[in-house]
């Protein structure tokens, strides 16, 4: 097998192999588990770097294997997919480190590390999938791999959230299966191709129905209102590192699926011609506002962050649906930006709950004095989410807004402004309480009790790193290998 075919497999294997190894034989060997995850994550980082460099030079990485008689499995590194793969590599490494500190001696660690690695493998597969069936395969694997993370605690609430998640995700998966099969019947065994694969052989009605089915199916994972109902419970009830991984990384599978459907299955031209993108943009806008409104009302910190995910994720769909080059770049880059910011916030929330036992917004008074570094990272990510320059979220909103104007959809700017205000309304009170209010009394459950050190280094460094990245990708947005540059490069092909 040649290097160019082997590389996508290796990138996938870097998380798949550790996942299987952990699940199969290391039930009681903690250091081996961590070593496998870290080794896999570092390997993946290096391989992704090689792949990024290669793709810039115009190389093609594609692996193809026989699956059914007339159907292949295809893994392919294209620029859009690499955005998500890079995010996966970074967040997997940091989350593994974080999880070591977070879980300490907690039970069921084999399950946690095994299935979180499997989730990473699944999302990487989603990103590299070169045809609809391969996409479906990893999309479903993601459901299977994330369920154990959601129910990890085993409490009644966790199990209820898990069941709700499964019902939504599996129903979505069944609809996706039907959609992919109809696509297969209509268009034959096709690969994702920029510009679309559907010719005019079907009626407009059929094409529209298929589009609605496919988008609704992936929309479950993208948490588009009203298909978002599973997300807040599932993402907030999971243990801290799992929340970061779910809300920062795996949740992108749905938004990513929408991009694939619009760009690579229908093609912008056909999708616009059928009048499908307008309604999608409106749905995305509604989700952005609705998610923020619901976030306002949450007192439980992680639930507030989870609703924020519902809202933020639809920036991607919005950018895709507005159908202009700048808007698309702004939407796609938000996959990375949302990922690192949301991971920072969940890392921070997990640090607070593990160190002080603080889980509610109303308990946050004065935590900034007790845990200044954690809260500094949290604040940077919050400001980023709101869209304060020069942080990551600002770049997204700026480019997306310009893109809206460019494509003649000025209302997008209004949505972005409203969203920023709402983001500020649900995030700033947290920041304000943490820094400017006095602690009421002792913390609910302080650990370690001395108060001399802020928290365990493993809980501190990952959010510090992602907060720094939040700053860097904003400040250096114009630089050579920034996510924004890469996203613009990725959409060039779509809009030639």
């Amino acid at each position: 097998m040649s290097w160019s075919a082997g590389l996508p497999l290796l990138v996938l294997g870097a998380s798949l192999v550790p996942a299987l190894a952990i699940l199969l034989w290391s039930a009681h060997r903690h250091p081996a588990r961590v070593a496998l995850c870290l080794g896999g994550a570092l390997t993946k980082l290096v391989l992704v770097g090689v792949m990024l460099g290669g793709v810039t030079r115009g190389e093609r990485y594609e692996w193809r294997g026989t699956f059914l008689l007339d159907l292949d499995l295809v893994l392919r590194a294209d620029p859009i997919g690499l955005l998500l793969v890079s995010l996966a590599a970074v967040l997997w490494l940091l989350t593994t480190i974080y999880a070591v500190g977070y879980l300490q001696d907690a039970p069921r660690q084999a399950s946690f590390f095994g299935f979180s690695s499997l989730s990473v493998a699944a999302i990487v597969g989603v990103a590299l999938a070169g045809n609809p069936v391969t996409f479906l395969l990893f999309f479903e694997l993601l459901t299977v791999a994330t369920y154990p993370l959601v129910v990890h605690r085993g409490t009644r609430a966790a199990l209820a959230a898990g069941t709700r998640y499964l019902v939504f995700a599996l129903t979505g998966g069944a609809v996706l299966l039907a959609g992919v099969l109809v696509l297969h019947t209509v268009a034959g065994p096709v690969d994702f191709t920029t510009g679309g694969v559907l010719s005019g052989s079907s009626s407009r009605g059929q094409l529209t129905a298929l589009f609605v089915g496919l988008v609704a199916a992936v929309g479950v994972k993208a948490a588009i209102v009203p298909l978002h109902l599973w997300l807040p419970g599932a993402h907030s009830i999971a243990p801290g590192p799992a929340s970061a991984l779910l809300s920062g990384l795996t949740v992108n599978a749905g938004a990513f699926g929408i991009a694939r459907i619009v760009f690579d299955v229908y093609g912008l031209e056909l999708a616009t011609d059928l009048g499908l993108l307008g309604p999608l943009a409106v749905l995305a806008a509604v989700t952005i506002v609705y998610g923020s409104l619901r976030a306002l009302a949450q007192d439980e910190l992680k639930r507030r962050l989870a609703y924020s995910t519902v809202s933020q994720l639809s920036y991607v769909a919005l950018g895709v649906a507005v159908a202009g080059p700048l808007a698309a770049a702004g939407g796609l880059v938000h996959v990375v930006h949302q990922g690192i910011m949301k991971a920072t916030l969940f890392y921070g929330a997990g640090g607070l709950s593990q160190t002080l036992g603080v889980t509610r917004v109303s308990e946050l008074n004065g935590v900034g004095r007790r845990m200044p570094l954690t809260m500094a990272a949290f604040t940077v990510a919050s400001l980023g989410m709101i869209g304060v320059p020069p942080l990551a979220g600002f770049v997204t909103k700026w480019v997306l807004g310009l893109g809206g104007l460019q494509a003649g959809a000025g209302w997008v700017v209004g949505v972005l402004v409203a969203s920023s205000l709402l983001n500020a309304a649900y995030l700033l009170p947290i920041v304000y309480r943490a820094w400017f209010l006095d602690p009421v009394a002792g913390w609910p459950r302080e650990h370690p009790p001395t108060g001399r050190v802020e928290t365990r280094p493993t809980l501190l460094w990952p959010p510090m790193v992602t907060a720094t990245l939040t700053l860097l990708v904003g400040v250096l947005a114009g630089a050579g290998l920034s996510p924004l540059t890469w996203a613009s490069f990725a959409v060039e092909g779509v809009f030639e």
Binding site: L23, L24, F67, L68, E140, G154, L159, G162, T171, L181
Partner: protein, 471 residues
């Protein structure tokens, strides 16, 4: 000598071997026989792959006096899956039989080998009378497997099963006699499909449905399959019920295709669809794991019968591959579920679903096997179950008969519902109960079976190609 002859005689020799060797060599003898049977199956498969379908006169006599074997892709792949699954179940049974409490452990082997030999014979028989003999031997062996658990309720379940199976055989024999009177031939693969014999076909089909437990003739199955000891349950639910389905396929799709009517095919499909729903609803209501898995068999068998209406449409090729692939992939998947349940039963002493709370902490590998096998049964990619579902759906879409597609999709979700209910309990946070340690071999063979159910999807191209040979 052709591999086909070895495939029939290797498990038969196993019967003899396991009867005569001394106790301490029993496990070894059983494994040797199982390995030989599997090797013969592999040889047989490669033979068909190389030279296409062929007929074999055992002992050189030829029909109508001698025994004829006929091997095409379907027969070969059924033999291959039976023996691979059988080998892994045998490996499990070796570890399982180490427990002194299992009083039937010596008797198990010859009976299981007899069932194995009957299965191979049945898949390879070229004429209806040999088929009948194989069916009878299989019924006797299977009923014996049920009563191995000992106790009154096992005896009742076993007797009930035996009566149902014999009634089925009698109907089948009646049909065979009628057919012989009308056509003067019992050859299954005699060339032109017979167009007479409608009554014979009905009789034989009803007989087979009784044995394969298609709704509403499934009344005997849950008790029989759940009360048998673990390895026996796996054999019964994973392998034995497929034999009679296989006969229906041969009759409806090939030998008597001319007398099969579309109305009849639709009726079979409809019963299958009802079975999918009914079995799932019953499975959801069960409090005991083994009963839940047994009802799951009732439901999963329903999918197979979607073949008959769909094979009479433009989606025929997909329907054939989908239904038969389901029959293949269900074997290791269901066997893994029953064996996981048996491991749980042995270590906890109960298979009440309630008592399995938190099992992910104290039996991680068993839970992993159960989960992987469940994923295949639900039909998520890339498992074998997915491949089956994909082709069945493709047939429904191609034919424009979308309602069968709805059955496939809804059936998958229902499967997820009742298996997910068990998996959910595994994750409940609960203190570990006092459990007996079980041999590691139990988990390893179960895991291999579950892996087989998953990996079958990734290597589907091979079996799918085989299914086309001679079809």
């Amino acid at each position: 000598m052709s591999w086909a002859a070895w495939a029939v005689s290797a498990p038969l020799l196993g019967v003899v071997l396991t009867l005569v060797v001394p106790r301490r060599l029993l496990a070894l003898a059983a494994l040797v026989a199982a390995a030989a049977s599997s090797a013969a199956a592999v040889g047989l498969t490669s033979e068909v792959w190389g030279r296409g379908p062929f007929r074999l006169h055992l002992g050189g006599w030829g029909a109508p006096l001698g025994i004829d074997l006929y091997v095409d892709g379907l027969a070969a792949v059924m033999v291959l899956l039976t023996s691979t699954t059988g080998l892994l179940i045998s490996a499990y049974a070796v570890s399982y039989a180490r427990d002194e409490r299992w009083s039937a452990r010596a008797g198990f082997w010859p009976i299981w080998m007899l069932a194995w030999a009957s299965l191979h014979t049945l898949f390879l028989s070229a004429d209806l009378f040999n088929l009948y003999i194989a069916l009878e031997l299989l019924a006797i062996a299977a009923a014996a497997l049920v009563v191995f658990a000992g106790g009154l309720s096992a005896l009742v379940a076993g007797t009930r099963y035996l009566l149902a199976a014999f009634a089925g055989s009698m109907l089948f024999l009646l049909g065979v006699a009628l057919l012989y009177a009308e056509t003067g031939s019992l050859d299954l693969y005699g060339g032109e499909p017979v167009t007479t014999g409608g009554t014979a076909l009905v009789l034989m089909t009803v007989g087979m449905l009784l044995k394969t437990a298609l709704f509403p003739l499934h009344f005997w199955l849950p008790a029989a399959h759940s009360i048998a000891p673990g390895p026996a349950s796996a054999v019964l639910s994973g392998l034995v019920v497929k034999a009679s389905f296989y006969v229906v396929v041969r009759l409806w799709e090939q030998a008597l295709a001319g007398s099969a009517t579309v109305v009849g095919a639709w009726l079979l499909g409809l019963l299958g669809a009802i079975a999918v729903v009914w079995g799932a609803v019953q499975a959801l209501r069960q409090q005991r794991l083994k009963l839940l898995i047994a009802y799951s068999t009732v439901a999963q068998l329903g999918f197979l019968f979607l073949l008959f209406p769909l094979s009479r449409t433009s989606g025929a090729a997909d329907a054939w591959q989908g239904a038969l692939f389901h029959a293949l992939t269900h074997a290791p998947g269901k066997a893994a579920l029953f064996l996981a349940a048996a491991t749980v039963l042995r270590s906890v002493g109960s298979d009440r679903i309630e008592d399995l709370r938190g099992a992910v902490s104290w039996m991680p590998l068993t839970v992993l096997s159960f989960g992987a096998a469940s994923i295949s049964l639900v039909g998520l990619p890339p498992t074998g179950g997915f491949v089956a579902k994909w082709h069945l759906l493709a047939a429904a879409v191609d034919a424009g008969h979308w309602w069968w597609g709805v059955v496939v999709l809804a059936g998958g979700l229902l499967t997820a519902l009742y298996l997910g209910r068990v998996v959910r309990v595994f994750f409940v946070s609960a203190p570990a109960p006092s459990i007996a340690t079980v041999p590691r071999g139990l988990d390893i063979s179960t895991l291999l079976l579950a892996a087989l159910a998953v990996v079958l999807g990734l290597v589907a191209a091979g079996p799918l190609t085989l299914l086309r040979i001679g079809a």
